[in-house]
Amino acid sequence: MATTHTKSAARAMMAPSVIALLIWMAVPLAMTLYYSTLGYSLYNPISTPFVGFDNYSYFLSDPTFSAALVNTLILVVGVLCITVGGGILVALLLDQDFYGVNVVRLLVIAPFFVMPTVAALVWKNMMMNPVYGVIGQFLSSIGLQPIDWMTEVPLLSIIIIVAWQWLPFATLILLTALQSLSSDQKEAAEMDGAGALSIFWYITLPHMSRAITVVILIQTIFLLSIFAEILVTTNGGPGSQSTNLTYLVYQQAISFGDVGAASAGGIVAVILANIVAIFLVRLIGKNLDA
């Protein structure tokens, strides 16, 4: 299908989407870049002197920044470990033959559809509250000291909440990959004398490796910008113990009104996300040819 007529029609049909996204991406990004070089406070918007890289050196040398950067990484890696590891196990379980497969499947994927604010509040109040929370009551009932999750281990609490939200995603995708493995291969391995563990290690896991990569990359994109969960639970605290990069930028902009520093932080976040995005785009691009 390639007459000049259809070709030009195709261009015209693509143009609105391309232009919309181009504007959406380029204009604000350019503005952020511009603001990041200004001494721009919302409390004094009249005077916005050019300050060069001052915002970056301020932002990068701020101890909160390095804390937030570390928190961001711990948050991402922690959630990834739980969701990928747990996802593989749950996917293997759901792939078994048992009564009520479909219902259990629904139960497992449900958390993914819970909006972030609900997930965070339910966990904070009803699960993790040291006195009335289910976990606290369970711990006391077996004679252990309940933990005040949000103040004692704020970052871990957020990791748990976010991992709970993303475990279904990992499970669902890994299960899809698992079920696309032909039983021929497993049977052939069985004929060759492989046990259940060797089959998992040599056949199943390599087959899932691509899906695992996809899960890791896509989740990383979303996990880098976790926001609502922190906003409604710990507010980044105590101190900056549970502040990630996204939340820090938000704080700089909204609470402190420091547009310049917040913009510099935004650019840093963009660069970080791009490093991951490059890998993801390559991987998907490769798949596109197939």
Binding site: M1, A2, T3, T4, H5
Partner: protein, 334 residues
């Protein structure tokens, strides 16, 4: 009505030239078959005529008007696709009516034409089914029905039978020939199967690497192939082509003899050979005979019950007036 003329038509995708400059005349009412191996450009040529692809240069005239720049719908051509390309969400009736609806025809006329086409094609009983509920042959008929209701200047068929099983294919071949006899509309038919070409065509266009190798009636191509490519492509089993000393005797670089033009004997003849594999078709037997003339065994047609076995010695004698001679460029010497 449906005369189609291609003048200096050329098609290239970037650097890759699919069809070098080519001229072709198709008369009104003719059944023309484009035949050639896959990748020869026959489908591209059909799509150029249909308007689904642009020509890179040259002119296409349909029914006396220059159609080079016209969009497909304005060319008054109907096409039957290899996959049939039926609209899966529409009933048979709606599929057939679709082009008429697009043309803005009034409802009564549409109904009349659709039921008429359904009758001709024996689709009456399936008219309200969806394509998914039909067999391959029935889908094929719907695709043809959708083409004929438009009363086009010409029909284009793109390998329409290649998705059918062998038995159905023979039946549909007859139906399409029958349709042509009845409608007397120009038909252009693309296939890689030389049997389809031989049995259906008024005129065959043999294509190879975008070039027209020869244009002619089936019998012309059979008895007077213009070059070794056509000689080898038309006819089944293939013509035996010999080079070397035996060809020299006939003042040619290559000579060709069809399997059916070689006389067989167990006692005497021109060429001595050893029987290898025999293929028994019942009415005929095709023997593969190894000779000193040529590294490849020659194919020879024998009677259905010709009494030879693997390893027997036989003698072959080609009919003198059926030997085709070709020069060192592969062109026929006449």
């Amino acid at each position: 009505m449906g005369a189609i003329r291609l003048e200096k038509v050329r098609k290239a995708f970037g650097e890759a030239v699919i069809i070098p400059e080519l001229d072709l005349d198709i008369k009104d009412g003719e059944f023309v078959v484009f035949v050639g191996p896959s990748g020869c450009g026959k489908s591209t040529l059909l799509r150029l005529i249909a308007g689904l692809e642009d020509v890179t240069s040259g002119d296409i005239t349909i029914d006396g008007t220059n159609a080079t720049e016209l969009p497909p719908a304005k060319r008054r051509l109907a096409m039957v696709f290899q996959s049939y390309a039926l609209y899966p969400h529409m009933s048979v009736r709606k599929n057939i009516a679709f082009p008429l609806k697009m043309a803005g025809m009034d409802k009564a006329e549409i109904d009349k034409r659709v039921s008429n086409a359904a009758k001709i094609l024996n689709l009456d009983n399936y008219i309200d089914r969806r394509p998914g509920q039909l067999s391959g042959g029935q889908r094929q008929r719907v695709a043809i029905g959708r083409a004929i209701v438009r009363e086009p200047a010409a029909f284009l068929f793109d390998e329409p039978l290649s998705n059918l099983d062998a038995a159905l294919r023979v039946g549909m071949r007859l139906e399409i020939s029958e349709l042509h006899q009845r409608l007397k509309t120009t038909m252009i038919y693309v296939t890689h199967d030389q049997v389809e070409a031989m049995t259906m065509a008024d005129k065959i266009v043999v294509l190879h690497a975008g070039h027209i190798e020869q244009v002619g009636s089936p019998l012309e191509l059979y008895s007077r192939p213009r070059n070794t490519f056509v000689a080898g492509f038309i006819g089944s089993p293939k013509m035996n082509l010999l080079t070397g000393a035996e060809a020299k005797k006939h003042d040619a670089a290559t000579i060709g003899v069809r399997p059916e033009h070689i006389a067989l004997s167990t006692s005497e003849g021109m060429w001595k050979g050893t029987v290898k594999v025999s293929e028994h078709l019942g009415s005929d037997t095709f023997l593969h005979v190894e000779t000193a003339l040529h590294p490849e065994p020659l194919t020879v047609r024998a009677d259905g019950e010709f009494p030879v076995h693997y390893g027997d010695t036989v003698y072959l004698t080609p009919q003198a007036d059926k030997i085709h001679r070709f020069d060192d460029k592969g062109l026929a010497i006449r």
